[in-house]
């Protein structure tokens, strides 16, 4: 039963501004004045993000959950894809993107990506989808299949029953579980999730949030999570970046109580809902700003 008040000993969900990172701490992701302009120098030039600055410390054995929120079209995905090194967003037009203090050169298995539309390979069974990364890394067939079975169980699917199915035989939630297993099997230190649960119904969504929290504890990775669902972001995040309207730049950095209880329980607490409302207020102001910008920009 969800209790309306937090039980004793559990901190209420709070929002506070993020303190700057202590100097000298190793950084896992570091954006320095990053700007991305498409078709630069042509009349179609479009700036997606401008002057993005943020630093996420490397916390070995702990990791961090970074929620990314903002008005639609503000370049949240661009930031994720710049970390992943995926074209056409990569490379940035200006500024520097560092991962593990090295400039990003291109995509790699050290940065896992979970997409909204699952994108499981339709020609591969669940096992072969999950084992794809290991296959690319030339892991022997027997070993990679055993490991894939293990991960299929971990994301809450039945490896025996579902392992030989094809993606089109699975529901959306199951497909997203496969996509998560496929990403996590590579044990990436950075996991990028672009609205991974956007296409799922609310009930499935909550169970996926719980699954994600439990898996993330085991992986000790830094997760970047783009979402439009404020409750989801407040629940999952340790840290939250709120973007301004396009061209996007980081407007707020918030520190948030981490998810330490099941989604259904924690999301029913009053302090949690107050935090959600506070974030919603910030976002609504930004949406108004966006509308004002659009009104000013239209009579060209």
């Amino acid at each position: 039963m969800p209790s309306p008040e937090p039980s004793a000993g559990m901190p209420p969900c709070v929002l506070e501004d993020m303190p700057p990172p202590p100097a000298g701490m190793p950084l896992i992701v570091d954006f320095e004045n990053v700007t991305k302009t498409y078709d630069a120098g042509t009349p179609r030039a479009f700036t997606s993000i401008t002057d993005i600055n943020f630093k996420v410390e490397d916390r070995p054995k702990i990791g961090e959950f970074v929620g990314v929120l903002g008005p639609s079209g503000c370049g949240k995905s661009t930031v994720l894809r710049l970390i992943a090194g995926l074209a056409p967003h990569f490379p940035q037009t200006m500024g520097k993107v560092f991962v593990n203090e090295q400039p990003v050169q291109g995509p790699g298995p050290d940065r896992g990506f979970v997409f909204q539309d699952y994108s499981n390979f339709p020609n591969r069974t669940v096992i072969d989808n999950v084992a794809f990364g290991l296959e690319c890394a030339h892991v022997e067939e027997k070993e990679r299949k055993a490991k894939a079975m293990e991960w299929i169980q971990k994301v809450g699917l039945d490896a025996k029953r579902d392992g030989l199915k094809y993606p089109h035989q699975l529901s959306g939630g199951m497909n997203q579980r496969v996509a998560i297993a496929r990403t996590l099997i590579m044990q990436p230190k950075i996991i990028l999730m672009d609205e991974p649960f956007g296409a799922l119904d609310p009930t499935t969504r909550q169970s996926m949030q719980d699954l994600l929290v439990s898996l993330w504890r085991e992986l000790e990775a830094t997760v970047f999570f783009v979402t439009h669902d404020i409750a989801e972001a407040v629940y999952l995040s340790d840290r939250m970046y709120i973007f301004s309207p396009s061209p996007g730049t980081i407007r707020h950095q918030l520190k948030i109580t981490p998810a330490d209880r099941p989604a259904r329980q924690m999301q029913a607490e009053r302090s949690f809902q107050e935090s959600v409302l506070a974030v919603r207020d910030i976002l609504e102001k930004l949406e108004l700003e966006k509308a004002a910008l659009a009104a000013k920009g239209s009579p060209k």
Binding site: L86, F115, S119, F121, N123, C136
Partner: protein
Amino acid sequence: MPETEIAKTTPSKPSVWSNWLGRARTIRDVPPQLESWMFGLAFMGLALVVWYLVTAEWNGERFMPRYKLPSPGETFASFPSLWFDRALSLSAIASLARVLGGFMLTAAIGIPLGIIAGCYLRVNAFLKPLSVFGRSVPIAALVPLTMIWFGLGEVQKVMFIFIATVAYVLFDTTNAVQAVPDRFLDTGYTLGAHRTRAKGARRATFFALIYALIFSFGLFALDDQSESHGLLRGMAGSSFWLHALFGLTLGFLLWYPIQSHQLLRKVLLPLALPDIINNLRLVFGVAFGYIMLAEVIDAKRGLGFIIIQSQRVGPREHIYLCLIIITLLAYGIDQGIRVLQRKFFPYLKNAES
């Protein structure tokens, strides 16, 4: 009570006929499978009846004379002479073999080249004029040219099919690869798909050996059958080993770019393959039609040859029989490929279209 009033005013029970008529008049109403077949059969029946009526004798006179359009009975009665005297099965096999030979060449070059062009857009831009030209040029106009280049034998017929179809297969394959959504590429990249040069070279060598065999033995076999030698013999010096070397180089060059990148080998190629095979099936149907063009000129057997012989010296019944047989053969092959498609791509919910 309003309920009983409504029951009184509505007709007691719509008849089966008016029920059916209502459905038939509904836009996009899907008929049961059996009904669809009945309608298909009805068309064939209607065609037979019309055929019968225009060729039947009325007071000793026919609307269509026999030399223009023989009656259904006369046509089907001439089947034994077509089968035995004209050696229908040999001709059908000869036609099929020519199409298959040319088509194999088309697939061997068009598919890998199309995959490369679909991945590397500069290659695509480079090959674009070729595919535009190849798809716009009137195919029938190529028959005389192929005779100048390759003589009158089997090489000419195979090369004609190759030249007529390669641009289509190249174009379709390029499109199929480009149609693979970007998100699968992104997924592949973030899971670590990378270039594997050594493995690519090993696999490409295997393909190169197959190509060498096809080009040496295949051309050798064709050359043996043809009595006159055209460009190919002069070009290659009719040397078996030169052909083999040519095939080896070509096979390696075409397959190394595909085999040496995991993203092409494990993602793009398998995802585009169902589309590629489906397009091959469609082009094969067209190629089977083209071969008649090459066979009406100086062939010793083949379905096209039988048709032109029947037109010149009769019996005309054979023309109609051949048309029916060609249609049935093409349809049968098409259905056969479909069955294979469903077997090899079980993940496609419908291997239709």
